[in-house]
């Protein structure tokens, strides 16, 4: 079977201010099929954001192998990784990371700017799909948290990515809105034939996914830290 994402022996460590080297991610193996939706359970400090950033090419691992859509990510130059990220990945950040000076529509267009190109019609369609057709000209500060999150979802799907990474996408929402948001993310991903890799610590979110992974099991570093008396923040 050909996978959309294959990870082998992925290790990432950081040097703490006191000079101690701490391994945050140590994932021997992980695979994701095209259009598959996977939820990863991870407690705070378990290295889930680092794991997603490594997949996105935002962070460079110490060693390991990441194959994304047939591309050996670590063998690519930085600009090629940037290009691959722009064309293949969508990223819904926990804090949404919307650009404050830009409207909802412009934030989605910014997502397109570095990908295949600006597609105004598609950008409007996505915002319409997430229920924000009447908020195109609103800036993030003029939108509710839930609306901001929907802009972030629309932006993540702007370039018709094959994989959407979602980092605690419902972390800032109440239970009711969290469920709605999650249903929306999954629906939109499905409509766009995008795989979804979501990390969360919320059991109600995880319960919606057929395939669930526990980062404590997946990430040997997290398991080691869980066993240790005190752990570094990551």
């Amino acid at each position: 079977m050909s996978y959309l994402l294959e990870i082998t022996g992925l290790v990432k460590s950081f040097t703490a201010p006191d000079g101690e080297r701490t391994t945050i991610v140590d994932v021997p193996s992980f695979v994701l099929a095209p259009e598959e939706h996977v939820a990863i359970r991870g407690a705070s400090g378990s290295g889930k954001t680092t794991f997603l950033n490594l997949i996105a090419g935002i962070l460079q691992p110490d060693r390991g192998r990441i194959v994304l859509d047939g591309h050996e990510v670590l063998a690519l130059s930085e600009s090629a990784r940037d290009r691959l990220r722009a064309r293949t990945l969508g990223y819904v950040f926990q804090n949404f990371n919307l650009l404050q000076g830009y409207t909802a529509l412009e934030n989605v267009l910014l997502g397109m700017m570095f990908g295949p190109g600006i597609d105004l019609k598609h950008a409007k369609h996505l915002l319409d799909r997430v229920g924000l057709s009447d908020r195109l000209a609103y800036k993030p500060s003029q939108l509710s948290i839930g609306q901001q999150q929907r802009v972030a979802v629309a932006r993540a799907l702007a370039n018709r990515p094959k994989l959407v990474l979602a980092d605690e996408p419902t972390g800032n929402l109440d239970q009711h809105h969290a469920n709605d948001a999650l249903v929306l993310i999954r629906e939109v991903c499905r409509e766009n034939r995008a795989a979804l890799l979501l990390v969360s610590h919320d059991p109600s979110v995880l319960a919606l996914f057929t395939r669930q992974e526990d980062l404590a099991r997946l990430n040997r570093a997290a398991a080691a830290h869980a066993a240790a008396p005190a752990g570094a923040s990551r």
Partner: protein
């Protein structure tokens, strides 16, 4: 929303930091405007003063400074170095190598504007610009030698003093206007010259006989004092002139007369060629221009520094923005280019403002130079400084953007995409 690209990012950033943008654009504009003004006005002034008067090749006057002679007769500035006998005028006018010889007698003013006593040849033989002769406004005429008390006013004098044809004017002795120095004579204004945009616009022209016969004037052509009497011809040997304006038939005449008058003679000075004499003046005061240029360069450097500082100061608050853009797939080079484009845009806008400032400075200089000298600067002349300065400023602006651009280039994506868990 069309054309959403790097420029949109730049536009948004400039708008978000509007105050800083405006201050920087204005400071760049001041630098560009000042630099363009210093060089363009300097070039134009140099050309206006050294381009000389095509109607004349040389000036013959009393022994002394050639520069003083030229300033006094061509530009109607400065005092006259003295007089030469009428015979000298007649002698040089009779020289077959001389095409035009027009005598000037100066030393009086009308409310601060020079009065020049001369012959009607000034109207018919003198070209104030190549192929252009004096003309009179409708209703007027040139003066006639039969009446020594007629006057023709330069256009600027007439408009400034509100004098019209038919009015009478009373001269004042000396070149500086002083009410106490009023002569008793009255001159009837018979014509107003059409505007020439030359120093001649600031002159009151009267027959040379009018100068001789003006109350209180004495002539010393023979070395003895002669007081002209009413109704009595003035003996030619008593007459004097302040200068003789000369046009030669060929350039070689200047060499010959220069030898005869300046090197072998001892009584007169031939200021020739006029452009060279004026160029020497500019060489002498060249240090002023060099200081002005240095000031302009310093202002440019300060402006470049302000671009660097204004963009650099926004870098901290924009690190997250760059990190988000990078996470969306923007390359380091794209982020770098955005900052360089931003600094370039600031200088481009500054250069546009610079043209406005240049226009204001040039207009002020135009009126001052015209009022003081009669020389008119050409507002439409495209001086190289007018395109070189903006290009250099934009290039410098791009350079100024390199430091903050490099900082943006090095933005660490992951650490600026908070929070990490």
């Amino acid at each position: 929303m069309m054309g959403f690209g790097l420029m949109a990012l730049v536009r948004r950033s400039l708008r978000q930091h509007l105050l800083s943008t405006v201050v920087t654009v204005v400071s760049v504009g001041l630098a560009a405007g000042l630099t363009m003004s210093v060089f363009a006005i300097n070039h134009q002034t140099y050309e206006a003063f050294t381009g000389g008067s095509p109607g004349f090749d040389a000036v013959l006057g009393a022994r002394g400074s050639q520069l003083q002679l030229v300033l006094n007769t061509v530009f109607h500035l400065e005092t006259s170095p003295g007089n030469i006998p009428w015979s000298m005028y007649k002698q040089i006018a009779a020289n077959p190598r001389v095409l035009v010889a027009i005598p000037y007698a100066v030393g009086d003013n009308y409310k601060g504007y020079r009065i020049v006593g001369t012959t009607p040849d000034i109207f018919t033989k003198f070209q104030y610009r190549a192929g252009r002769y004096f003309g009179v406004e409708a209703g007027g005429r040139f003066f006639e030698t039969s009446d020594a008390h007629e006057a023709v006013l330069g256009n600027y004098v007439a408009s400034k003093l509100g004098v019209r044809v038919g009015d009478t004017i009373t001269p004042y002795h000396g070149l500086q206007y002083s009410e106490s120095q009023k002569h008793n004579d009255q001159f009837k204004v018979v014509g107003i010259l059409k505007q020439t945009n030359s120093p001649s616009d600031r002159v009151v022209w009267i027959p040379i006989e009018g100068i001789y016969r003006m109350s209180g004037h004495v002539l010393r052509g023979t070395g003895q004092v002669y007081r002209p009497e009413e109704g009595q011809d003035i003996p030619e040997e008593s007459k004097e002139v302040s200068a003789v304006m000369l046009k030669f038939k060929s350039a070689s005449t200047g060499f010959i007369l220069d030898q005869q008058i300046n090197r072998q003679g001892k009584v007169a000075t031939l200021a020739w060629p006029i452009a060279k004499v004026m160029a020497e003046l500019f060489d002498r005061i060249g240090w002023v221009n060099r200081i002005l240029a240095m000031v302009a360069y310093l202002v440019v450097v300060v402006a470049a520094g302000s671009i660097l500082a204004s963009i650099y100061n926004t870098m901290n608050e924009r690190r997250r923005e760059f990190a988000i853009l990078r996470a969306l797939g923007a390359r380091r080079g794209t982020v770098f280019s955005t900052i360089v484009l931003e600094s370039t845009t600031i200088t481009f806008l500054g250069a546009l403002v610079g043209y406005l400032i240049y226009g204001a400075i040039f207009t002020t200089a135009y009126y001052i130079v015209r009022a003081q000298t009669g020389v008119v600067l050409d507002a439409l002349k495209l001086d190289p400084a007018l395109w070189l300065t903006p290009i250099a400023m934009v290039a410098l602006g791009a350079l100024s953007g390199l430091v903050p651009a490099f900082k943006a280039y090095r933005t660490d994506v992951a650490s600026n995409l908070t929070p990490i868990s």
